[in-house]
Each structure stands twice: as structure tokens, then as C-alpha cells.
Symmetry: C3
């Protein structure tokens, strides 16, 4: 069993923050969208770490109510003034061209240009991120201050892009566990140079998958790297029956900033993953936020649609849309940090540890307390967490190990960290005071 360590303990070794940060930085410059070579390039970068299956789904494929769109690629894009100076250039930042812009090359008036430019008047030095996937259009994005400075009569606009039949790309990696029941970990891979949203999530899950190699786990772990919305829909359409195997799931996005942590519960609201993450955040030492499910957000929208209703929540640091950097050029590599990534990673690893190790025990003595003193158990665990807490953990585990409470149930009621409860149960079990048992149906709480 994983060299005496639990799955969670094995996962948190090394310097995950630095490694995740480095990989996020590597994929940051790539121009991604919901289709195209940028997505493929990113998937290949992930494949350099894990044995990723890359799928290509042809344009025109029907996926539930949707159709896989044409593939978009862009080679160059800029605005040039009458002196031939480039005002903005895709080569400098892929945020400058609206995603899915159709090709254009002509001279237009400043007034017409204004119809094709997005800025942020309230954040005049930042370039916004904009898309137009399903309406033929083209536009540039730039700092408001820069746009305000333009005074030429006419400008040359060039977007050298393709919108043509091709395919939608996504990657998945399956870590096989002892059972076919799955834990889904999903990150959207469609945003261009936005570091937190979502190079951070892609890099975190890549590192997690890499660390899982060789680990013996109870659940199978499915890692999905797909474009937002259409990618999740495509995967669900191609894996409709399979989706029933998903017992726990997390959408992982914006995990590199110092905010939160924030967790948005699954539609079910009291799924095990909801309880597991809430428990982890309660004991993480930061001021965390738990949000009720709402049908707006990331790909949990699709996983939690009524026809699936999967137990999938959203894990983030800052809440999407609630920070000024959101969907702007300020969401750059300076906005994410190894420390924040490391904490996000640890919280997810600990959640995995809980679902892997949650089980029921039965107090063998049951009638009255066992005599802990003669077994040398009082204070047996203490030290780091304090003897009092360790003793309370023993008393709680003994009191609630009645065939109706799992370790997570006990940790919640005792308001003590799951890891302490788990270690305590192990020690009591080693002393013959607990035996493993199934938890009675409907009696989990």
C-alpha cells in the first residue's frame, strides 16, 4: 500500500508549487481557443508529462443540442496606422485578437474601427479577453488608454485567420484504481494567455496526474483537459453511459492566485465531494468560502445538468468574476505564485485522501470505553496537534464507530481534521479496538 503512506501523503511530496508554476509558465504563451492548433500544442505539452489520450472530434459532429464548430487558427493579426506603425499586434499578445475572429484585411475609418475594438474604460491600461465563438465577427482588444490616443483617419486591420472544417481536440488520462468508480478532475483548456484562468488549473491537474503514476488507489481518476462548454459537452456526449461511474468530481480553475479558497457545491448540494471539500476548507487555516450551486460558472454547468446531475463541484481560489484581473491581461504570470498553487494542490490532494480512506469501523468493545491507559494510548498520537486533541480524536472515534458513522462523519461531528481521525482509527485498529465494517445504508450521518 503505497509504501506505508496514504494516497494523499504520497501526493504531496516534492515541491509541487514550483513544478506547477513552471508548467503553467510554459503553456501560458500559447494561443488557445475552443479549437485549433493552440489547443493541440497545449495537449502535447501535457503529454510530455503524462500518457495523455488526445481525441479529435470532427467539425459538424452532433453533440447533444450542439454541433462541433469549425476550427479556428490565426497566424497574424494587427492594426497599423497611416505611418505603418503597428498599434496592437497578436504577436505580442494573443489577447489582442478576439477569439474566433473571421479573417479581415482592409483599411477602415477610425469610426468603423471603434465598432471592432473592445476596451475596459474602468481599467484603461488592461487588455480585455473577448470571444465570439458562434457569431461571425472580428474584433481587436486593447487598453482603453491606447485606443483613446488614436487619431489617424484610417487604419489597416489585418486578421490572418482560418475558420474551416477541422476538429475539436481534448485530452484525457485515466489513472486506474481498484474499482471502476471514478473521480473526475476537469480543467478547461480554451483560454489563451490567461495565467490563472486556466493555465493554473491545467498545470495543477497535469502535476497531480503525474504524481499518481504508480499509486494504488481505490478509485480510478479521470483527468479531462477540454475546451470549456463545448469540450465538456462533447466528452459527455461520447461518454454518456460512462458518466454514471463518476462518484466524485472537481472542476479546477483559477487555482494560482492568493484569494479564497472558494468552493461551489455540486447541484446535489450534499454529495460526498461537497462534504469532503467543505471539511478540508474548514481546517485549512484560511478564510474560505463555500457557495451553493448555481447554474452559472465553468463546466460543472454541464456535469450538473439535470440529465447527468453528477456530483461535481468547482474548486477555485478567488471566485470567478469577483476579481479585477479576471479576463484581462492582468491575469498574467505575475498574478499566480508557486505558494498559492502548492496550497491549492495540497487541498485537492487531501480531498483525494479523504475519499480514498473514508470507511467505517466498529468499536470492538462498544460497551463502555476501552481502557486506553493500559495500552499506552493516551497521548499516543499527540505532539504536533497536541495531546488533548489526540485524546479527543480517540474518544470520538471510539464513541462513533458504531456501524453508522464513517471516518468523515466522525471528523465532521468531532470538528477535527480527517487526517487526525484517520490516523487515530488506524492506531486503535492496530490495538484491536476497531474492526473495519460497512456503513449501514442511509445511516451515514
Amino acid at each position: 500500500m503505497n509504501g506505508g503512506l496514504t494516497v494523499g501523503e504520497r501526493l504531496v511530496g516534492g515541491s509541487p508549487g514550483e513544478e506547477i508554476n513552471a508548467f503553467a509558465a510554459k503553456i501560458y504563451p500559447i494561443c488557445r481557443s475552443i479549437t485549433g492548433d493552440g489547443v493541440r500544442k497545449t495537449l502535447r505539452a501535457i503529454r510530455s508529462h503524462i500518457d495523455l489520450d488526445i481525441h479529435e472530434v470532427p467539425t459538424g459532429t452532433e453533440v447533444f443540442d450542439w454541433v462541433v464548430p469549425r476550427e479556428w487558427n490565426v497566424r497574424a493579426a494587427y492594426i497599423r496606422d497611416q505611418q505603418g506603425r503597428k498599434i496592437v499586434d497578436f504577436a505580442e499578445s494573443n489577447l489582442h485578437v478576439m477569439s474566433y475572429s473571421v479573417p479581415v484585411h482592409r483599411w477602415i475609418s477610425l469610426a468603423e474601427l471603434k465598432q471592432h475594438v473592445y476596451t475596459l474604460p474602468d481599467q484603461p491600461d488592461l487588455t480585455p479577453y473577448r470571444t465570439s465563438y458562434y457569431a461571425d465577427n472580428w474584433a481587436f482588444c486593447m487598453p482603453h488608454r491606447l485606443f483613446e490616443s488614436l487619431d489617424d483617419e484610417r487604419y489597416e486591420v489585418v486578421i490572418d485567420s482560418d475558420l474551416s472544417n477541422g476538429s475539436l481536440s481534448y485530452g484525457e488520462y485515466l489513472h486506474k484504481g481498484e474499482t471502476d468508480e471514478e473521480f473526475l478532475l476537469s480543467a478547461h483548456i480554451c483560454h489563451p494567455s490567461l495565467a490563472n484562468d486556466n493555465c493554473s488549473g491545467v498545470a495543477l491537474l497535469t502535476h497531480l496526474a503525474k504524481c499518481m503514476v504508480g499509486l494504488r488507489t481505490r478509485y480510478s481518476y479521470r483527468f479531462l483537459f477540454a475546451p470549456g462548454t463545448i469540450g465538456a459537452i462533447t466528452w459527455l456526449a461520447r461518454n454518456e453511459d460512462h458518466a454514471r461511474r463518476i462518484k466524485h468530481g472537481l472542476v479546477v480553475s483559477m487555482v494560482g492566485d492568493g484569494g479564497g479558497p472558494t468552493y461551489k457545491k455540486s447541484r446535489q448540494g450534499n454529495a460526498k465531494i461537497d462534504r469532503v471539500i467543505a471539511h478540508g476548507l474548514r481546517h485549512c487555516g484560511l478564510k474560505s468560502t463555500i457557495l451553493d450551486f448555481s447554474p452559472y460558472g465553468y463546466d460543472e454547468r454541464q456535469y450538473c445538468s439535470p440529465g447527468f446531475d453528477l456530483p461535481v463541484g468547482l474548486f477555485q481560489r478567488s471566485q470567478f468574476g469577483q476579481i479585477p484581473e479576471y479576463h484581462t491581461s492582468a491575469d498574467n504570470l505575475d498574478f499566480i505564485a508557486a505558494d498559492h498553487l502548492a496550497l491549492s494542490y495540497r487541498l485537492i490532494a487531501e480531498a483525494i485522501d479523504v475519499v480514498e480512506n473514508d470507511r467505517g469501523y466498529r468499536n470492538v468493545v462498544a460497551r463502555c470505553e476501552p481502557q486506553l491507559g493500559r495500552r499506552g494510548l493516551y497521548g499516543a498520537i499527540g505532539g504536533d496537534k497536541g495531546t488533548a486533541e489526540a485524546n479527543m480524536a480517540m474518544l470520538w472515534v471510539l464513541n462513533l464507530s458504531d456501524g453508522r458513522h464513517s471516518l468523515l462523519d466522525i471528523a465532521e461531528r468531532a470538528d477535527l481534521p480527517f487526517s487526525l481521525i484517520r490516523r487515530t482509527a488506524q492506531i486503535l485498529s492496530d490495538h484491536g479496538l476497531l474492526s473495519v465494517c460497512d456503513i449501514e445504508a442511509d445511516g451515514a450521518r
Copy 2:
């Protein structure tokens, strides 16, 4: 279907506030009690608006634990001093004589008079409202300051009243809907010249019944105008089996002042009407109050007695007994206003709209979100309420239309007004994205 409008939309047309206010003013001067000609006169005034059935129940009729009392009528009542000046006169205000006062005509000492006078020492300029239905007695009510000024040795007291066999009168009006299931709307009609309590409620329900004429409704609507306590008991005794048809109900009293709104829940506590009114108050823009059921109040006491336990709550503006004007001469026509009556009326009409239009839909796509963009649905409703709210409404309706949530369930969970949820469901239904369905039993929440 009601010319394309919902029942609630049809009900709120015109200037209900002015019309209700005018009718309240018309019936204000009448001297009502639990029986007698004042009640009949009021019922005839209502019948000039709607096709009211007026019932007469003879004195002595047994109604559950009670007996219909003798009928009380009063022609004149006054106190005269030794100079022949009238100190108080029933002709000026019917509050001056205690309701159900037995006849009297004699000269008495000031000391004895004191035993037969009610005043409000803390509100010395106001006349209180007093009754003595079930104990033979007589009394006058007057301002404390006036009573304090009396210094004659003797006074002539005259109450020219009758207490004799007759009948108890009440009126009811039934608006027939598509089903026999009923929505009860009940107002007490036994208070004399008190504008808010309850000319306001009588006038509001009269207007509502009038507006309902010609409307196609799902429920039948029973309007009951009866004296408090004995009237409700009499109706229940004569309609015991019938009462089972009542699926929703409101007692309506004190709806013309600017306080509240206040809602006291039915004994059941989570009846549909309780949820409907709570939802309406949450979105009405005023600081409203929801009270748990208690067995003290108006005729909900009888409807919610354990042998009936009907889903009937109490709708008010200010809470009874909590305002200085309550049961005094200050509850006059200046205390009520068309604007307040209009808002009260609108809240009740909206509640009717909810019970009429609450139903279940099933998301036809169900698996993942439908592609709203290609149907032009994003922002389709917006404008008044804002596009963001409109989009959220669409996402919520789609997400929760799973055969287990009605529109009210969705409105509650989304924390959005029912009317927005209902309109959204209609639009989605028009686009073939929803189909009507029954809600699974016990799964409403």
C-alpha cells in the same frame, strides 16, 4: 386564456387603490357588529359590486360548541349632562357605544357612570373600540380627556338598543374555476367605523372578486364576508365537508395602512400558501415580516383549529395589536390610503398568480445545456430586470426542470421573482426546450 395575460396580470389592471379606498370609505360609517342591520347593510353594499349570496342563520342555531346569539341593533345612544348637553353621541361615532350594549335609560351618578365608561388614559384624545358579545352589559367609550373634564353630579345615559331573536348574516361569493379545489379569501365584517380593521379588507376582497368576473382560473375562489369568530365558526359548521376543498386560503385584514407587509403562516407552517406569500414578500421591496402561526389573531384561528387544520394564513400590513391606532378612533379614513391598498391588492393578486401558474416542466435536452445562443435566447427577456438576471433565470429553469421542481421551487432556489421564472419558462417552452410535466410526489423540494 384571459387574452394572453395571466390571471395575476389581468387582476392588477386599472386603479385598484382608488376603487378599494372609495368602497372602504363608503362602508366606513355603518355601525356593524357580529349581527344586526349594519352587517346586512354592508353585505348589500358588497352585493352592488358582486353577485353575493347573503345567508341568514337564526338565533339559537348550534354551530359546533357555540350558539348563534341574539341579534343586536341600536338606534341611538348618548350621555347627557344636567344642562342637557350631549357629552357623547352614537350619531357622531358608533364607537361611542360598546357593541352589544343592552338598553338603558336613566340618570346615574358620575361615580356609577365611571363603571360604564372605557377610555384610553395613555391616548387621551382617542375613543377606544369595545365589545361585550357574550355578557349582558352596557358601556360608553370616549376620549379620556373628555371623561376627565366631567364634573356634573348626575348624567342621563341612553342606549336605545335591541337584543332579540333574529339572525346572523354573512355573505359569500364563489368564482368558479376549472376545478372544485378552492382558494378561500375571508374578511371579518363585524367591526364598526374602523377603516383599516376591517373596511380595508372587505373592500379589497370585494374589488378582487369583481376583477375576477370572467377570468378563467384553475382554482375556484371563495370570498367570505362574515363576522369574526362566530361568523367563521358558523360557516365552517354549515360547510364542514366542503372545507376539505380549500387548498389555499388567506384571511385579509388591516390592509390599508403603510406598515408591513406582515404574514402569519398557517398552522401547517409550510403549506403552499405560506411559501407563496413568503416568496412574494421577499421580492416586494419592503421590509416585510413573516410570523409563525399562533392560535391568537383573526379567523385563521378557526380555519386552523385542529379539526380542520386548513392551509389558511393571515395577510396584513401592520401586525394587529402592534400599532397605536389599533382598535381606536384613530383607525379612521385618514389612516388608510389608496397606495397602500393598491400594494396590498397587488401582493394578493400576485399570490393568486403563483398558485394559478405554478407547474412543472421538463428540460427536453436535459443532458448538458441547450445552445441558447443560436436560438437568440441570451438576453431574450432582459431589459427591465437586466439581462444578467434574465440569463440566470433561463439557466436556473433549464437546470431544475427535471420533473421534481415546480416553477415556485425554482423561483425559491434561484431567489428570483416567480413572474420572471414563469415568463422564462414560457419562452423556453415556446422554443421547444421545455415540456409540461407532473411533479413527482414528495419531490417538490
Copy 3:
């Protein structure tokens, strides 16, 4: 029926505070531990008041996971300095010797003495209370200031104690009621001269048992005076099948100080006793505290172990461990007072009154309110509590007496004291308006 008074009313006669206080003072000087003559002497003192059964369980008897330990007795213990002066002396306070200290008699260095002395550096004038039941050891306890003043090179330490085969002693008294269902009242009897912990509890229960003699009760009342932990375990091991008869229970400790009251709920969390005490504390006029169950505390740990899971809570004034006097020489007779003991006693007596008198009634009229006025019932109870409250009590009892609510259910929902609800039900019953009925299963709330 107890001379027209309820059980609770009969119990609170006389001057319970003074009598309890006097008995607590009488047993305070005795040196108790978990076994030995001090326990026997205390049990004999109790037997001078009630017909106590005293049980002796031989050393070595297996009781679940435990074994009855050797018996400990101590005749003398002191530390003498080189001048022959006694530094501390067991004869002055039995707290000076650690409970279960093995015998010792030798001269030791100050440094070695330090290994065998307990003090409280933060409370330098107080002597702590320490035990070492299950590890062979010896120690003295003394004020820190006194220990700091020691400067001799060597000291003579004498503990003239026995640890030898004998027995564990406990006492029980059963008040037989009409049924075999029991109310357990348990006090630990193993602490030496600590007045609040637990001479107060022992004395309170002794008085309660004495007052119960001759009373007709519905439940049988079992009073258990046993050493903490091992005593409760021993009793449970010898009465395993019997324990199923326990329908309500309280561990009573630290009931003589002016704090709290504090109640720690049973493991079940919503047992009747939990509701009864919570109701009593809500109406006691003091700022009380209700704690959720935790597996740390007094003998409720054993009663609430998963193999028993009895409905037994812990009743205290101040919460154990939360006051500076806890387990120190400051927990002396000055720390407890007759007034506090009287209030604690009254709260327990009232709880007994609730479990004795809680029952269901059915409103005979049921359909609408009965006419209270003609029966002279309005204001019939009033006076002390106020007429309004009395009338509300009548309306609540009538409204909720539907075969699904017991008097306690009604008292909780009406937020009125049980005693008022009970008296009201009696009056309504005397007027033929209520009939006794069984409460439907699972419908109690």
C-alpha cells in the same frame, strides 16, 4: 395522587438548599478515591438518609474491557523537613496526597522530591487534585508558593498507604414507580475533599431520593453513587440487560456553584431528557448553556458509549474544566452555597415533573375553538403569570391537542413553561374540553 400535587411540586417543598448544603459539608472531609474506606464511609452517610444498597465488587473482577483495581487506603502522608516540621500533611487536607499513591517512606533530595510534587504555577496558593489510578506512582500536591520556598537539601516523605486486594464499592437506591421504566440519576463519588465536584451532586441526589419516598411516580428512579468511570463501567457490566430500561438519565455533578446552568446533551442529541432540560433552562431566568454531546466529561461517557447509547445527559452549573476552582483546593465549602444548590435541585425536580406529567390530550371540540367565555375560562388561570399568557396557553393547548403533540411539544412550540401548559390542560380537561389520548408514533413533533 400525591395529595393533589404533582411529583415536581411535592419534591420542591421545604428548604432543599440548606439540607443539601449541610450534607455536602458532612461528607466533604472524607478522603474518597475510586475504592477504599472513604467511599464506604460516604455510602454509609448516604444510607443514613435513604435505604441504600451498597455493593462490593472484588478486586480482579472483569468489567467489560476493565478489571476492578486493587483497593487503596491511606492512613497518613506528609513531607517533613530536616527540622522535623511537616511541610504538608494529609491530615490537614487529603488533596495533599495523589490518589492511589503507593506507599513510600524515605529521605530524598529536593531535586528528587520535585519529581513527586504537583503544583499550579499559575494559581500559586492552591493545591491541585491529582490521581494515578492505573500507574504505580506516588506524589504530593501542594501550593506552588509553598514548594518554591523549600530550600532544605533533603526531605522525609511518608505515605502510609495500602494497595491491596479488596473491593470496589458503590451504592444504589431504587424508587419504584408504576412502571419498570427507569430514570437514572448518577453521581460520581470518587473525589476527595472537593465540595462542588462532587459532594454537591452526591448530596443533591441523596436529598432528592429522600424526598421521593412515598411519592407515587410513573417512572422508577434509580440513584447511583459510584466512583467515576470504573464505577459506572462496573454497574453497566453487572446490569447490562437492565440498562435497556433506562428511558431518561442525568449525570449530576458540580451543582453547587453559581455558574451556568450548563447541560450537555446525550449522544442521541434529541432524547426526551435533552428536550426536557433544554426547556427548563430556557425558562429558568438564568443565562444557561446547552452543549452538544462530546465523548469527554463524566460518566455519561460510559452511558453514552455506542454499545449502550442511553439517553443520559450531564447536568452542571459551571461547565467542568472551565472555572479556576476546578480540581483545586479552592473547590471547598465556600465555593458552594445553599441558594445555588436549591436552584439546581429545583431544575432537576422540574425536569422530573415534565417526564412524569408529559402526555397527550385530544381537543374534544376540535372543529373551531370552544366557547371559553361561557365557561368562565378566559383569565381563569392568570394572576401570577398574567392573564394574557394564561389565555395564550389555553389557545395553544386547544390548538395543538390533536393526538400528535404532547404537552411538552406544546410547551416548546408555544414557548411557555411546561408547568403552565400542564395546569392549563388540567383545567381544560376538568371542563370536559380535553380527553387524555396516546400520542401517535413518530408524530411527537
